[in-house]
């Protein structure tokens, strides 16, 4: 192995610390912090925004800006996942599972500082791995073909076994449904459109972020809103929580290292993709913990694991991008575009001629991680105190933010419609105890599973079982299944213990199960009209889903005593607190915003919605409501102008010409 390239590391660090580079890094990190915390704007938008400005710059400062930006975005994303239960991105949804319950317990500061400290270590581990990746990256790329990729995806899928919740059949059905949702859209092998309901919106499938928002954010908002008058933190804030958070990380140091390595590995391996990292490390965290009873109810380890892995993955993502010119994520594709803009082509050229730049990137990564963590830690306490405010005062802003984020997925009204549909399903899944984590994992892996299956069959056929790495990974997958089957406690991120109350009225639960069953059958029937290569996967998955759902329906009708079969969180809650509002009422409140936006456009609808919400629901004064509504308008206009964030247009625009971004 040739480690002589490492001699470039020292000069690169000196280069970075002297001269204006540090300043550029600070600019990048500052911008990254802003786009990370602001709702609806992610790393991709941030990077795209700076592209015109770095054109013509020297490569070194330009790289410092870009690296600074994307390295801290992932850290700053954590705020919304932990504080309000809205995943900052599809990859951070796993953090919501335990992060948000901790916030509800008043431990937001602890959760945040644990998350930041964990992601700091993850980032450093990732940068460290990147340093040595020169030597190993090429052999890995050559060794992991489509067959091996298939086995890794299967292995990732088996981890669902730990996240099914108490009732394994229901959990597997959720995962199966996720796989089925993932088949919607054009088929990879034949380009036929499957179950798109003749809409062009669905021709590329349902965006992951819509499902993450619909399955996690909307149900959480609904839940918190039921307890009118309360704040997110249902108990008093725990002071000095941030020191406890750092202690948590030190106590679980090896977990952090393991998850960081896991995240790096997934970043390096071709074919798995970033969306699954958080879930894999969450499942690993659960798997490797002795006491699992608190997962899903606010176990700090459930925050530490995914966060360290996510940040490590972000650094490792650079490996395929820089060394082979293969972007592994959306933001990496933009980053690659940025490299082209400054005259560098990633790939062999970069590895042979620009080793100094690679080290500059690595050091920039490490330093921006330090910066990002420091800034986030400072902000953690003041921002965490927001969770003690009466929830009805912040709820309208969260609702605005969810819909605004959703619209960024495809810049299409279909985004909002899809969010509403998935949101309703998500609300009932939460209420009746179906694992939403399993659903999301199924969806993340669905397309990859189908396409790598198809590619493996085309390229290798049965010869795949002659490849040692593939077999090794397959054995691991089987062990993982065996482990999950033996395991007694499985979490799903739900935190409700069912009592007899859940069994009193079973008909809503049966009806929901049958509705899911009908969906599976519909997708299956639809699949029969396509060519073999396009129909075999959805047909198989639909059949499995239908069987699992049928088992559940029959068990329900027989009143089986299987654990976790029955759960009606609404009924449980109503029994505890009779003043809680009905789901329907709150869903209506949520839907009022898109309904209004459909007529007058989102830019006008959002402030009006906030004003009336604060005035009527929260009972705030006119002046207060007006000020906050105007503040929101100012934010929206700023986001549109500075960050070029698009907003959903309204129906009125067909008749009245209004200036952008109004209408």
């Amino acid at each position: 192995m040739d480690f002589s390239v490492l001699q470039n590391a020292g000069p690169a660090l000196v280069h970075l610390l002297t001269g204006p580079h540090l300043l550029y890094l600070l600019v990048g990190a500052g911008l990254g912090m802003i786009v990370g915390i602001l709702p609806g704007i992610g790393g991709i938008a941030g990077l795209a925004m700076v592209l015109p400005f770095i054109f013509g710059m020297q490569p070194e400062p330009a790289l410092a800006v870009m690296v600074g930006l994307f390295a801290v975005t992932a850290t700053a994303d954590t705020f919304s996942s932990v504080l309000i239960g809205v995943p900052g991105g599809a990859g951070t949804a796993a953090t919501v599972l335990d992060g948000f319950p901790m916030t509800k317990r008043g431990e937001a500061a602890r959760a945040l500082s644990a998350a930041f400290a964990a992601s700091f270590i993850g980032g450093i581990v990732g940068a460290f791995i990147l340093t040595f990746a020169f030597v190993a990256a090429r052999p890995i790329l050559l060794a992991v073909g489509f067959g091996e990729q298939l086995m890794f995806i299967v292995l990732a899928l088996t981890l669902v076994g730990m996240l099914t919740g108490q009732n394994a059949v229901k959990g597997l059905a959720s995962c199966s449904l996720g796989l089925l949702l993932g088949t919607i859209g054009s088929s990879q092998a034949t380009a036929e459109y499957r179950f798109t309901l003749d809409t062009i919106y669905l021709s590329d499938g349902i965006p992951l972020v819509i499902v993450a928002l619909g399955a996690f954010a909307l149900p959480e908002v609904v839940d918190v809103m039921r307890q009118q008058g309360g704040s997110i933190a249902q108990k008093a804030l725990v002071g000095e929580g941030w020191i406890t958070g750092i202690r948590d990380v030190i106590k679980n140091f090896w977990l952090v290292i393991r998850c960081s390595l896991l995240g790096s590995l997934i970043g390096v391996l071709p074919g798995l993709g970033g969306g699954v990292v958080g879930w894999i490390s969450y499942a690993h965290t659960v798997q490797s913990s002795k006491d699992r009873s608190e997962f899903g109810k606010g176990d700090v380890r459930g925050v530490i694991g995914p966060e360290s892995a996510n940040n490590a993955k972000d650094s490792a993502d650079l490996i395929p991008t820089l060394f082979f010119g293969i972007p592994s994520s959306g933001s990496m594709a933009v980053f690659m575009g940025g490299l082209v803009v400054i005259g560098i082509t990633p790939g062999r050229d970069m590895v042979t001629n620009h080793v100094d730049l690679i080290y500059l990137i690595i050091w920039s990564l490490a330093i921006s991680n330090v910066l990002g963590t420091a800034i986030s830690m400072i902000l953690a306490r003041p921002i965490a105190s927001l969770t003690a405010i009466r929830f009805v005062l912040i709820a309208p802003f969260i609702i605005v933010m969810i819909f605004m984020s959703a619209y960024q997925a495809k810049i299409d009204w279909g985004d909002i419609l899809a969010l509403l549909v998935v949101g309703v399903v998500g609300i009932y899944m939460k209420r009746f105890g179906w694992s939403r984590a399993a659903l999301l994992i199924g969806l993340v892996l669905s397309q990859r599973l189908e396409s790598s299956l198809y590619r493996t069959v085309q390229i290798y056929g049965m010869e795949i079982f002659e490849r040692p790495i593939a077999i090794g990974v397959l054995v691991l997958a089987m062990l993982s299944i065996g482990y999950a089957m033996r395991s007694k406690v499985r979490t799903s991120g739900g935190n409700m213990e069912p009592t007899h109350i859940s069994r009193i009225n079973i008909w809503p639960q049966v009806a929901f199960t049958i509705a899911l069953l009908l969906f599976a059958i519909a997708v299956g029937v639809d699949a029969t009209q396509y060519k073999f290569l396009a129909s075999i996967f959805p047909l198989t998955v639909a059949a499995i889903t239908a069987i699992l759902l049928l088992i559940t329906t029959i068990r329900m009708l027989r009143g089986s005593k299987v654990p976790g079969l029955f759960l009606d969180a609404d009924a449980e809650m109503a029994a505890e607190d009779s003043t809680s509002k009905s789901t329907l009422y709150i869903a209506g409140l949520l839907a009022a915003l898109p309904a209004l936006a459909y007529i007058v456009g989102f830019v006008i609808a959002a402030p009006i919605y906030v004003f009336f919400f604060l005035r009527k629901i929260a009972g705030a004064s006119i002046l207060f409501s007006l000020l906050l509504a105007l503040g929101l308008l100012a934010f929206i206009l700023m986001a549109n102008y500075v960050f070029q964030v698009p907003f959903a247009p309204g129906y009125l625009r067909e008749y009245i010409t209004m200036p952008e971004p109004f209408g």
């Binding site: 054009s186 990879q188 380009a191 021709s203 010119g325 293969i326 803009v341």
Partner: protein
Amino acid sequence: MKNGWKYSLCGALLSLSASFAQAQDFSGKRITMIIPYQEGSGSTIHGRLYAMALEKTLPGNPTIIIKNIDGGGSVRGINQFQKEAKPDGLTIAAIATGTFFQYILKDKAVAYPLPEYKPFLTSPFGLLVYARTDLGLGDDPVENVKKLISSPTVYGGSGPTSSDLPALLSFDLLGIKEKGVYGLSNAESRAGFERGEFNLKYDNAASWNEEVKPLVDEGVAKPIFTFGFEKDGKIVRDPMLPEVPTFLELYEKIHGKPLSGIEYDVWKALFNVRVMGSKMLVLPADTPKEIVDIYSKAAEEAQKTDVLQSAQAKLVLSVYPQSVGAASEEVFKGGLGMTEEQQAWLRKWLLDRHGITLSE
């Protein structure tokens, strides 16, 4: 920039009653460029490059905002362009091969009247087909093609109805019977090619130096043919790779006669789109001539800006001559010039060779 947003608000309010005369100066305006592919795609890099140059050469130095709306092989973005763009020069679109093919193949999702659009810039890009040397390839191009015809070749790409169409038709016309694995991004298929899972592939000739040449230098790959380049009505060798024979040259050597008849017509129509009109910038239908002229002039002047003269721009645009105004209109028409009969032939070919039935 400082007063930009006030201006844009006032400007936009004024535009409520604006007549076309006012549109000739774009000062303080924000122009939207719709790119129907993903952020980071080749079309986006190309579009951003031109956006930066056009900001400098359009009268009044407007700001150009990039809006990526991908999906359905560019159909979703261009449909949205059709729906939203007014003929006032404030919305432009980048179109690429997929936009043409979905239109020519009459994809039922297409809701845009492509021939009515007003192109003002066209960037051609040559194509290079290459294969792995472990198929037993040597230095004689004709022998290499014969080898490809007789060996089991595996091709990884995005699919027969995508921008791969001209390459797949070329393979078939030569007699290469490749096995296709579809639904792959270019990066995925390149990785597969390097691993030896695929042994036949094509790439943008503009990326020759960075992507393909290292593979050739290492002895992993051999260039097979380029699509050539049209100059004064004749297809000549690609200016990027003059030593590599063109498809038409090889066809003649393999079959003993030049490609002719409807096969040639279809191939040439696809060539017009895929190579000569690879990436274009257009204004919406019914845009007045004055505005189209302003854009054509700006695109002409853009060529001389430091943006397009930079080394980075050369990496993206390569050596190919950019055409503006009337010349780009010419290329645009060339891409749409497929007759009903030729379309029917192509549809039948897709069905016979790839088992694809197109919905109408």
